[in-house]
């Protein structure tokens, strides 16, 4: 019997940044495909244009900072930030909105703090919040989903919407979370009766978009891009909060747990935003706390705040708290007493 002998080292090289970023980009595919199917090709134009601006800003900032431009751009992190931002933005956004978002994400949130790995806040979410606060009208008009509008815009319409916004006239509709936020005095049954957007689980189109991002997230989990702690804690906390306040559908009940899990940016946030290794807590216990508090905040802001969705705000607030959480959840190092401060 001859054993196959392999000499050391037996350890595999860790994933490089470029590989991780490529995996994240691939993992967005199912969700993006669902978005493009239900809301038309606007999201694809969003991604392309935002990526272009993000790369341009990143290159300019790197040049100004005297860093190697091409070698740094090669890590794909600017494209990932741009893609995540573009997915969060409403489809058929005008080009200047995308440019301002990319500038806020890349220049303000990332390069000003020192580039990849030094940013305390998630760049894509900073870009999103800057836009949401600055341009509330453009940021809260979402396209009508397939099946509820006579005709979805084609690729040419999407390009026109981006570069010549005045000539584009698309059908828009309140999102399921908008509806729930604005009609909190009605019972859920009446609301489901009155509005076609509210589908079986999370709203027409939205449930499949959410499931798409869930699939992409699970694949990344399988590939070992992140650990399960933060996303699972976030989803569990959000579902628990929803279950706690849900009374079967009376006025002000805030939607069922399933509705909250499958609407808006819940799944996208859980697997693509909360798992950001730079801005989240580091220790495993810390990630559980970090994710759970994001879930609680999302529910509170969704049902009690002024904005219909809350993933970006919740994530940014917890980005602030991540160092604090890390301080109190330091794992015991080998040989040190339990409970003793290092």
């Amino acid at each position: 019997m001859s054993l196959l002998r392999i000499t050391s080292p037996h350890a595999h090289g860790p994933l490089s940044t470029t590989r991780v970023m490529q995996t994240v980009l691939l993992a967005t595919l199912p969700g993006v495909a669902a978005l493009a199917w239900f809301f038309g090709p606007g999201v694809l134009v969003n991604i392309a244009v935002t990526s272009f601006f993000a790369i341009a800003f990143e290159a300019a900032a790197l040049k100004l900072r005297g860093r190697p431009v091409l070698r740094t751009l090669d890590d794909h992190s600017a494209v990932v930030t741009a893609t995540l931002l573009a997915i969060a933005l409403p489809p058929y956004s005008p080009w200047w909105l995308l440019a301002v978002g990319a500038a806020a994400a890349i220049l303000l949130a990332k390069q000003l703090y020192g580039g990849l790995g030094y940013n305390p806040f998630n760049p894509a979410m900073v870009g999103y919040v800057v836009l949401l606060i600055s341009f509330p009208v453009q940021m809260t008009t979402w396209a009508a989903p397939r099946g509820l509008t006579a005709e979805l815009p084609g690729l040419l319409d999407a390009l026109r919407a981006c570069f010549d916004p005045a000539s584009f006239d698309g059908a828009t509709m309140a999102t399921p979370l908008d509806l729930l936020r604005q009609n909190s005095d009605q019972s859920l049954a009446a609301l489901y009766e009155a509005t076609p957007q509210l589908g079986a689980w999370g709203g027409v189109g939205w449930q499949w978009v959410s499931l798409g991002f869930l699939a992409g997230g699970l694949w990344m989990l399988y590939r070992g891009i992140f650990t399960w702690h933060a996303p699972v804690a976030m989803l569990a906390a959000l579902a628990a909060m929803a279950a706690l306040f849900y009374d079967g559908g009376g006025p002000g009940s805030g939607g069922s747990p399933l509705f909250h899990l499958l609407s808006g940016a819940t799944m996208f946030g859980a697997f693509f935003i909360v798992t950001d290794p730079v801005t989240s807590a580091v220790s495993t216990r810390g990630r559980l706390v970090y994710g759970a508090l994001i879930g609680v905040l999302i529910y509170l802001i969704r049902t009690r705040g002024n904005y219909p969705d809350a993933v970006a705000f919740a994530v940014l607030i917890m980005n602030f708290a991540a160092p604090f959480i890390d301080y109190y959840t330091q794992p015991r190092s080998y040989g040190h007493a339990r409970g003793g401060r290092p």
């Binding site: 301002v100 606060i133 600055s134 509330p136």
Partner: protein, 237 residues
């Protein structure tokens, strides 16, 4: 000698020890009212006036007031100056007075003013104290107006809107619209924008300072021809 003092005073107030960019004093009005040039200019003028008045009065009484009661006395002087300013603004720029609102009386608590009164005017003769007050007020005001201009420009795409509040009806036409059909960028006008733009201005000042520093260092370290190395380790026998 005395010329030197005045040069240092102006350099300190306007640049090296700028109240807004270096001492970071008086941030509350700095962040709150700089949403447009006219607001910033109004508050800058009021602050400058109060600063000069209080420095004058404090310097005059500096040898009479005992140490134990100096702070209440200074605050009283500042409060009187602020009240005068308020009444003047009510009389001559009533709309602006209403826009500035609570931030006008709050000049009383502006740390720049008490800081200069206690830190400089209470120890120095009249002329220098007045000059120091004017320079510090100018330094603060320039930053205020610059911030107001930046925020108004990015926020609304125009400059010098509503200047008639301060300069009378003739100034109503001073508004310059730089970008037609500009989509208002609310973040620049809201308080977070004030923080971001202040941070950028501070960064810009550091950048200029480090550039000056580098050039000065390059001049200083010009190699001296024919210099000899000196042995610094071991024993010299």
């Amino acid at each position: 000698m005395s010329e030197h003092v005045y040069r240092d005073l102006s350099l300190n107030g306007l640049w090296k020890n700028n109240p807004a960019l270096v001492q970071l004093l008086g941030l509350c009005p700095l962040l709150a009212v700089t949403a447009s040039v006219v607001n910033a200019l109004g508050l800058a003028a009021a602050t400058l006036f109060v600063l000069v008045c209080s420095n004058t009065a404090v310097s005059l009484i500096r040898n009479v007031v005992s140490d134990a009661v100096r702070l209440p006395a200074f605050v009283m002087i500042i409060a009187s100056a602020v009240t005068c300013t308020e009444l003047l603004m009510q009389a001559y720029a009533y709309e602006l007075y209403q826009i500035l609102g609570i931030f006008l009386p709050l000049i009383t608590t502006n740390c720049v003013i008490l800081g200069r009164a206690d830190g400089y005017a209470s120890k120095n003769p009249l002329g220098r104290s007045v000059f120091d007050g004017a320079m510090m007020g100018l330094g603060f005001g320039v930053v205020l107006v610059l911030l107001g201009a930046l925020r108004e420009l990015f926020g609304t795409g125009a400059l010098f809107a509503d200047m008639d509040l301060l300069f009378g009806p003739a100034a109503a036409s001073w508004k310059i619209v730089l970008v037609e059909g500009y989509q208002p960028f609310l973040l620049a006008i809201l308080p977070p924008g004030a923080f971001i733009f202040t941070g950028l201005l501070i960064a810009l000042k550091h950048r200029i300072d480090s550039g000056i520093e580098r050039r000065a260092a390059a001049r200083r370290e010009a190699p001296v021809r024919g210099s000899k190395r000196v042995r610094v380790t071991g024993t010299i026998s």
